[in-house]
């Protein structure tokens, strides 16, 4: 409870002082108690919901700091932002549930599945790196 309170206080301070670099660490501090209890055997069905809630909290914190596009500026902005967030939360929850269901299934072990898992993990890393490089460019400049 103390860690959660400290995390909330940190988050409030970060938003007041407009420090976007500290939003994610502050949210991580808020999520530590719940995340730890989940990792140690808590009800796993709450994990996707908690993840979505953390994402919503992070986005709301970033929006409150980001004075380039204040939420009060236009209803259209608020609507699209809300729709994007809800979409990502729902997709995230669905993916997380699928992931959890897959991990809980009796299908496991064996060379084939290990190979599939390894290739998937490596492929995911390659895709992430390729996306990051394509978006940010070599050396950060086009």
């Amino acid at each position: 409870m103390g860690i959660e309170a400290a995390g909330v206080a940190t988050l409030v301070g970060v938003m007041v002082l407009a420090r976007p670099q500290l939003v994610v660490p502050a949210l991580a501090a808020v999520a530590i108690p719940e995340g730890t209890s989940l990792a140690l055997g808590g009800p796993a069905i709450l994990a996707p919901v908690l993840g979505a809630a953390l994402l919503a909290g992070a986005e709301l914190a970033f929006w409150s700091i980001d004075n380039a596009t204040p939420a009060t500026e236009s209803g259209r902005v608020v609507l699209f932002r809300g729709l994007r967030l809800i979409t990502v939360c729902l997709v995230g929850c669905a993916l997380a549930l699928a992931l959890y269901a897959l991990s809980a299934s009796p299908i496991s072990g064996g060379f084939d599945f290990t190979l599939i898992g390894t290739v998937s993990a490596v492929g995911l890393m390659v895709v992430v790196l390729w996306l990051g490089r394509a978006v940010l460019g070599v050396g950060g400049k086009s």
Partner: protein, 423 residues
Amino acid sequence: MTRRPTPRLTGYAALVALGAFGAVTLDRIVVLALVVPFAVWLAWGLATAVPPAVELTGRLDRGRAAEGDELFWDSEVLCRGGISWLELVLELPPGIRAAAKGARFRIRPPAGRSESVRWSLRAIRWGSYRIGPVTLRTQDRLGLVSYSERLGEPAPLRVYPSFERLRKLVPPARTQLFAGNRISRRHGEGLEFADIRAFTPGDRVRRVNWRVTARTGIAHVNEFHLERNADLILFVDSFADLELDQDSVLSLAVRAASALADGYLGERDRVGVVGFGGVVRWLLPGLGPRHFQRVVEALLDTQVVASYAWRDIDVIPSRVLPPSATIVALTPLLDARSVGALADLHHRGFDVVVLAIAPERFMPSSDRIDPLALRLWRLLRVARRRSLQRAGMIVLDWPEGLALEALLDQAREYRRFARRSAA
């Protein structure tokens, strides 16, 4: 186009990496499930992040202004694709300030249509500047990547010093050979009566003074003072400078030099400029309103360049310092090299008038300065001023709050007193 990750991207990526690591280490898939929404946000954002296609043109409404003038920078922004917001920052040099709205604008440009943005600027200080270019910043829709780019070409701007119009000036000690508004000691054709002498063949009959001729029985003619111009050299000391709140000793000297140049050129005198400092610059004496532009352009380029090399007036070509010229020096008396040059000019026969700008007004509060050091510094300056005064020059201290016109009144009084004493 420079692309940088935003705090969102680095934070979310770190969180996803931490979740993946935790899941593998603890062998608990639930830990990975916590960070899946962040991974989806990252994937969507990175896959859809596209650098914006923006075209921008900008121009300044004019290339010349005076201190205190308002200027406008107009830009046309055209975005080919949809952008949620665009931040435009106009790069401004010190000496040019943006008006109340500032140098930063945020706009939501419609896709495919250009939008106009106008910056209102004010020229605070004289000088030669380059305004721009414009830096634009934006982010992708999900706020993961920030883009920035400098667009447009900087525009040159010359800001001329503002100065007061002087009604009376310090009269030069000697005149030159060209026609002007000053009464010369020499006699000839003029308006001011000078003397009466005996008629010599060639004299005009209209000059005959009939009353004296009748009384003496010998023809006498009237003589008049010639009207001639003078040569003025404005000597600006640019060895050292003190600056406070966008104003400085050199700024004051340049404004005073502009006022003096305007006054003397209006009297049909010839005016030249010598900028004596780390870099020595000069402008040959000339006449007329067009020459005033040259004088002001020469003064605009005056700046302090730090140098420890010894300078004396031998570096100045002799044609820049015409014989019998009057030299009006604007100096804070902070550097021994300029003091030595002025003493040298006086000993070579030039008429030197020194307007010593008091630098105390440009110093920070005396609480931050050691009192003993400040006292020694002031005494050194007083010693330099007195050494020039003992040599016979007119040296006037220009304190804060005294107008240039009032200072020149003192110089005129000093010269009148010196003439009376000599007589």
